[in-house]
Symmetry: C2
Subunit: 537 residues, 2 copies
């Protein structure tokens, strides 16, 4: 029996488009790959996650029509796809099996994740039963994503004597997730002795990126087939006497390589799925914008990317030189626009009101915001999305200007801590040199005041980043972080900055999640809050 | 038996502060009001909603210490308060009864709301049992908020023969909610025949505002006591033979009056709880900014509010005159700063790049963004929050400039449709005249181009607003809206604008929810989406 794994890239909400892709893929699997069954990802028809579109009756109506259309247009192959299923006033996250004009089996997801980025209890009711169908004498069981992260659904299939499990997934990426996922599945497979087909979607969807890396595991827990990460791929695995035959196993890449690919795919899909003509970004000569430029070019091609250098009196010549070198290395066209006239205009306009006040962050913010206006003007005029270049360390402590360097439609490295920015820059340079060495080694600076460097205001990133990971991603307390060996004053400083900058993050553009906990719907903190992580009574 | 209803304003996350307020209120109720029991709102110790703070072990530790402190400091009165309750790896949304140094009863919320603005399945496990305790011979049952919106928990208390129900609530306001709430409770009371004490918190918390309006209902469903809306108040209701004695019933205000009070409280609490020195806003001479100015002054006092007029060549003299009249009527100090020099600077800086392109929205956005920079500069320099002045109709269709008029820390009328803006303006003028009549009757204009009015780009608000309500709040389909009598072209235009402007809303500041569905966490739509509400196949 030949089973096709359809690792495809869907567009959330584009029901007609997704249905057409399902039909095309199923017919290709049947005619070109001689598949008897084709398995698609979770909620194939809607894409994942469709969020509150699921609350709309018109949306659900469209999904029902789409499934009818697929049923009527595909025969000669079993199609296993995911779709919402409305039953009176309930909605289920379901998998259906289509065979020759009929729905022959339906499975309703039992385990609904409602943590992290997931809100499935908001939309769905839990299914209570397992679902087995027969093909060529084999008994096949269906599960959907979260079902496999817990033990009992697989246990029920074991008790029912199933031969092969088919799992439909929309399992989002974060660093190290691919191994974590295979390890969990291996536990289920070993405990049950049932070989398993795991199909994941790929593609970027707002803050999430799905890595694919679909696989087949034999009853001993060995991966006998693995699809590429971050690429569309429909592949065949043959089962003989319910055992999968060893096929091609795409290698697992290094973590930094997977992270880089995740970011490239996330940028490409956000820009293209939202219909932008390309991307524009500000190049400061610093490492963050250098990395984002490389990501944008790798995602979209150099002809679709425009860089803008916007020097001011505090910009060092070295920064301009390096920014130009970056644009030239990647073959990207760039503009140089001094922000002096605009900053001067605002300073003059505000001179009377600010006459008796000392300079402070206000004046620095004006510089950053003048750059924001220039970039947004280019974005508006050219239909290109503005990419912001802030990293996760900055987002955490609010070391960024709202409506200034935070302005933009998408923030590719928003979930990339500064130390990982360096790793990714070195990784990209290992493929071909695009970021000048000096950019990587010079001390980071916002260049909003004379001779300013980040460490004037923040602990060094080698100290800051691990503190932030413990506080933001692991929910560790101040005392626990200090006990892990970090200076109390740095811990207090970092954490109080995190606490008080929620308001900035709330207005930041979306960015790609690559850690186990990103800002956004993964970490939902109140802005108005009397909780002080650094108060310890 | 005298029961105190403690309708208090809490600060989310401020566990020590909330505990001190609970202790103070309980002692006041005991000593000044001779209460035997004092009932507090849901999750009193943390404030509501604490969101992902609940995932932090250090946060839960602090709540446990706070409850211990309250237990040890208050005696001589039964204290019924809400707190998270950790039991091994589970967390419950609980109510506890403290009596003379001990916790004598615990109730775990049975029904966890996970719709609209609520995410309680993300944090809590459901309690499975009811909880009855005895005081002065009466059997008292405990419920928490959502429990009372469904039938079965009250049914269990009825079967168990309870004399009085005490309900702890954090029930957020929207237009008409107070009557809706009393009607639901009346159904439960009539079905069970059990009199009920309903205590709600008051205060603003980010996008939510809680109205209070706590009440006591007798077994026939008559409201025999009602606390004020939108005010802190600790009141006594006496029960004789388990029947409440009729007390003072604060009147229910008109909807427009409640809406206005909700907005005032929302602004006041956001500004004060976040520690701002006051507020700054741009006054255009239009009705939206006029209303926000009045709200700000009513919330904070005139001395804490600064208005800024920022004319450009498209600003009519009438607009300047009216804006000045508004500031003077309310006694607010104001600045006039022409944005001409800044706009000119940007046009010069971009002249080469834009040389061969026609003028479009880009140039309008530059004007709006120059105003944003001026306002943010004043905000930064003076520690005053910038209030944005956009209404819900604009937010829906994206008729606003990101980083321009959308710049700011809080958006008071973000959930107020334009037609309600008029009603609120007239309501405010009925108290004292603060908004010139001409501002209310002239056609709305963004004044970003010569002789521009909103209706050049949008359907009239009398058509637009009901379409938006049906699409955004009621999830109606295009065909349903057309069938309700609206022109197809207006429906298609409005809905396609709503669909394509999710990205702007995602970067907008928080604002006060006063409709049954606000933007924000009440309506969670993907930005990247192929769903077109106006595509009907």
């Amino acid at each position: 029996m030949k089973v096709a794994l359809a690792q495809i890239n869907l567009l959330v909400g584009d029901i007609a488009g997704n249905a057409a892709k399902i039909i095309h893929t199923a017919i290709h699997a049947r005619d070109q790959l001689a598949a008897e069954i084709v398995v698609f990802p979770e909620l194939t028809v809607t894409g994942y996650p469709p969020e509150d579109l699921l609350l709309r009756a018109d949306f659900i109506n469209q999904t029902e029509k789409a499934v009818e259309k697929i049923v009527s247009e595909v025969s000669g192959i079993d199609v296993v796809l995911g779709c919402p299923e409305r039953v009176q006033d309930k909605l289920f996250n379901s998998a259906v099996v289509l065979r020759d004009g009929k729905i022959i089996a339906r499975y309703r997801k039992n385990k609904l994740p409602n943590y992290g980025v997931f809100d499935e209890h908001r939309y769905f009711d839990s299914g209570q039963e397992i679902c087995i169908f027969t093909k060529s004498g084999s008994r096949l069981g269906l599960t959907i994503c979260e079902d496999i992260w817990q033990t009992d659904v697989v246990g029920q299939y074991h008790d029912a004597g199933v031969d092969i499990l088919l799992t439909l997934n929309a399992s989002p990426f974060h660093s190290g997730k691919i191994l974590e996922r295979e390890n969990i599945v291996r536990e289920r497979v070993k405990a049950s002795g049932i070989p398993l087909v795991y199909v994941n979607q790929i593609g970027g969807q707002d803050e999430l990126v799905f890595d694919g890396a679909s696989f087949v595991m034999d009853r001993r827990g060995e991966v006998v087939f693995r699809a590429e990460e971050f690429a569309e791929q429909t592949s065949i695995v043959e089962f003989v006497e319910n055992q999968p035959i060893k096929g091609n196993c795409a290698p697992l890449y290094s973590e930094v390589s997977s992270d880089y690919q995740a970011l490239v795919l996330g940028v490409r899909d956000y820009v293209n799925k939202n219909g932008f003509q390309g991307a524009v970004l500000g190049l400061s000569g610093g490492i963050d914008s250098a990395l984002v430029l490389a990501l944008a070019v790798d995602a979209l091609g150099k002809d679709k990317v425009t860089a803008v250098l916007m020097p001011y009196r505090y910009t060092q010549q070295m920064s301009i030189d390096d920014a130009e070198a970056e644009a030239k290395a990647l073959g990207v066209s760039y503009h140089i626009i001094s922000i002096e006239p605009a900053v001067q205009a605002f300073e003059d306009m505000l001179a009377n009101i600010f006459a008796d006040t000392p300079k402070d962050a206000t004046e620095e913010n004006i510089q950053a915001r003048c750059r924001g206006i220039v970039l947004m003007a280019l974005s508006n005029k050219q239909g290109k999305i503005l990419l912001t270049t802030g990293n996760k360390s900055e987002m955490s402590v609010g070391y960024a200007t709202l409506y200034g360097d935070m302005a933009g439609g998408f923030a590719p490295i928003k979930d990339v801590p500064k130390l990982l920015v360096y790793k990714l820059a070195n990784y990209r340079n290992s493929i071909s040199p695009v970021i000048p060495e000096r950019v990587i080694i010079r001390p980071p600076s916002a260049e909003l005041a004379p001779d300013q460097i980040d460490e004037d205001s923040l602990p060094p990133y080698t100290i800051l980043d691990p503190i932030l990971e413990m506080y933001v991603e692991q929910d560790k307390s101040v005392e626990e972080i200090i006990a892990a060996g970090f200076p109390r004053k740095d811990v207090i400083r970092a954490i109080s900055l995190v606490d008080r900058n929620e308001y900035k993050r709330r207005q930041s553009p979306p960015g790609i999640r690559i850690t186990p906990r990103a800002f956004g719907r993964d970490r939902r903190y109140p802005i108005t809050s009397g909780f002080k992580g650094c108060k310890i009574d």
